[in-house]
Amino acid sequence: MTPPILELRGLTKRFGSGVAAVDDVSLDVAAGEFLTLLGASGSGKTTTLRMIAGFENPTGGEILMDGQPLTLLPPFKRPINTVFQQYALFPHMSVRSNVGYGLRMRGVARAEIAERVTQALEMVQLGQLGERAPRQLSGGQQQRVALARALVNRPRVLLLDEPLGALDLKLRKEMQLELKRLNRQLGITFLYVTHDQEEALTMSDRIALMRNGRIEQLSGPREMYEQPLTRYVADFIGETNLLEGTVADRPTGGPADRRTALDVAGVVLEAVATRTWREGERAWLAIRPEHIRPAAATDGANRISVTVRDLVFTGVVTRVHSTLKDGSQLVFHWPAEQTPPVSGTTLTVCFPSERGICVSE
């Protein structure tokens, strides 16, 4: 395994005397990787990024790049560049001057600057707009200039602080693919901060989901979606049903079989266990709406009786809002080929046991 390009070791940041904004975060970033720090506002993701860029001094812990400590270097001595949330393009300089700024500051020869700036602008498809002022560009174009201004320096690591937040949905989707393409093409490590879980799932090789200054779960997007470790992760990523219960049994099929049984309101349901559970432990069953369907007579296990409350047609699917006997909510997608139920109907639904995940608090 190649050594990580960037290592965070117990990184901690306290503002004033209050609680830690970033609390003992350790993370290895592999070279060329697209890693996303995902989290709600106040989760510490931006503060973590700012410490890596050098804008904030850590209260504790270390940042290593290629094994060398980076922690005490000022921002202008780090081989890292940042794409800022509001782009922060210098308003008194043309697009070309903005893009060439980093190279000028490092004393690169004028001819080389001109060449590399031209290349960088072509890379983000802004070849003709070099002489414009930033304010004469649209939001999407400014975004591309900010990207070119950072990438032209060929940083080891590129930090992106919610760079797509100000763009409209269509442009955002376009830029997501564009960023992913640049990451692959240039081989530059991308460290991306966002609160948008869909964005994180679309682009990332790995996602670090942050909560209260800590990393709640670090895994690939698919794993994070399909096998959340905690209730918070299951709830944050995509839409999910969470049913509270107690662990009913030891795993059924020996240590290799990662399954457990969960008692939810008197019904025993089978689910995937991502760790070892003790009998009687409090746990939650996480099931995505798309994995629940009306039960056929042949479906033996994981049957839940629900009462239909509301039907919501969203275009792609019909969502059924229903309640269990104990009053807890269950949302699921109704199969397109079947006639939808009417409100008030009581029916039985089921889910494949490999789709139900047993998660902790």
């Binding site: 202008f76 890292i80 949330q85 308003p91 008194h92 700024y101 500051m105 304010r135």
Partner: protein, 317 residues
């Protein structure tokens, strides 16, 4: 088509809104007309009247302007005043810029307190501040007393007070806050992200200042310098209190003696009109310069601008 010919309810509403706007504007417009525009108009008219045997006549003539430009005293005094104002401006800028920078970027906890400390003197009467310098620099003054008590001098120095240096010192003291305010306002509005972006792109703190902060703060510098220059050029109290024998050294003092001592209103008016013209040209240039340096970014909020300076500056003139 026909619908647009008849006044709609919307048109009536708009008409009544316009009427109310007009009524609301009447008082301030009237105020400015009676108390500012009319006096200027009288001043302008007087500069073309002829003085015959000490009596003001309403014969129109250009001889006041002829005398103004024909007598070396007047152009010399105007140039001397401009030179004084320039030196005051440069000194104010050198004092105000670093202080504004510290206030905007370095001071965290006591920022408002320090800003108030700079601004509060503006609420103290101008006369009191000018007199304070008399007390400090006078023969029996604080500075002489201090120097004698530590034995640097045996006799009180008489060169401190009643010189153009004393006038300049007081003017710098009085007008530095005016220079500071617009610079501080502009510096404070520069987003921190610009400085971070600059440092992120390998610029040291000093390079960041030279390439990002300084250029973005120039509109404030122009506004601040315009304040200092126009106000100090038109000042006449400091020269009277601190200028001693040269008390007529500034052009405003000349205007005062022409009106008050020599009773030559037409010539006084002519000097005033020339001063007013110079001030207007200067303000227009400053406004143009500021507009050129405005980049439409968040850092470009109007900085108070030199417009209020026109009022005060010309009152002094």
């Amino acid at each position: 088509m026909s619908a647009s010919d008849r006044p709609t309810a919307f048109d009536r509403l708009r008409a009544s809104t316009r009427l109310r706007t007009l009524a609301g504007a009447a008082l301030p417009v009237g105020f400015v007309t009676v108390l500012l525009l009319l006096p200027y108009l009288f001043l302008f008219a007087h500069s073309f009247f002829r003085l015959r045997n000490g009596q003001l006549t309403h014969e129109l003539t250009l001889e006041n302007y002829g005398r103004l430009f024909g007598t070396p005293l007047y152009p010399q005094t105007i140039l001397f005043s401009a030179g004084m104002a320039l030196r005051v401006t440069v000194a104010s800028l050198l004092l105000a810029y670093p202080l504004a920078y510290l206030l905007a970027f370095k001071v965290r906890r006591h920022r408002n307190l320090l800003y108030m400390a700079v601004i509060i003197p503006l609420w103290v009467s101008y006369l009191v501040r000018a007199y304070a310098w008399k007390i400090i620099l006078g023969q029996e003054g604080i500075l002489n007393g201090f120097l004698m008590s530590i034995g640097v001098i045996q006799q009180p120095l008489t060169v401190l007070l009643y010189s153009k240096w004393a006038v300049m010192l007081a003017l710098i003291h009085i007008y530095t806050p005016f220079t500071l305010m617009p610079i501080y306002a502009v510096l404070e509005s520069i987003p921190a992200a610009y400085k971070e972006a600059s440092q992120d792109l390998y610029a040291s703190r000093w390079a960041t200042f030279l390439n990002v902060v300084l250029p973005l703060s120039l509109p404030g510098v122009v506004a601040g310098c315009t304040f200092a220059f126009v106000l100090s050029m038109g000042d006449f109290i400091a020269p009277v209190l601190l200028g001693g024998n040269d008390s007529a050294l500034m052009v405003s003092n000349l205007v005062v003696s022409l009106f008050g001592v020599a009773y030559n209103w037409p010539l006084g008016a002519a000097v005033s009109v020339v001063m007013l013209g110079m001030t207007l040209v200067l303000l227009t240039l400053a406004r143009k310069l500021e507009d050129r340096m405005n980049y439409g970014g968040p850092a470009d909020r109007r900085t108070g601008g030199p417009a209020p300076a026109a009022g005060r500056g010309s009152l002094h003139a």
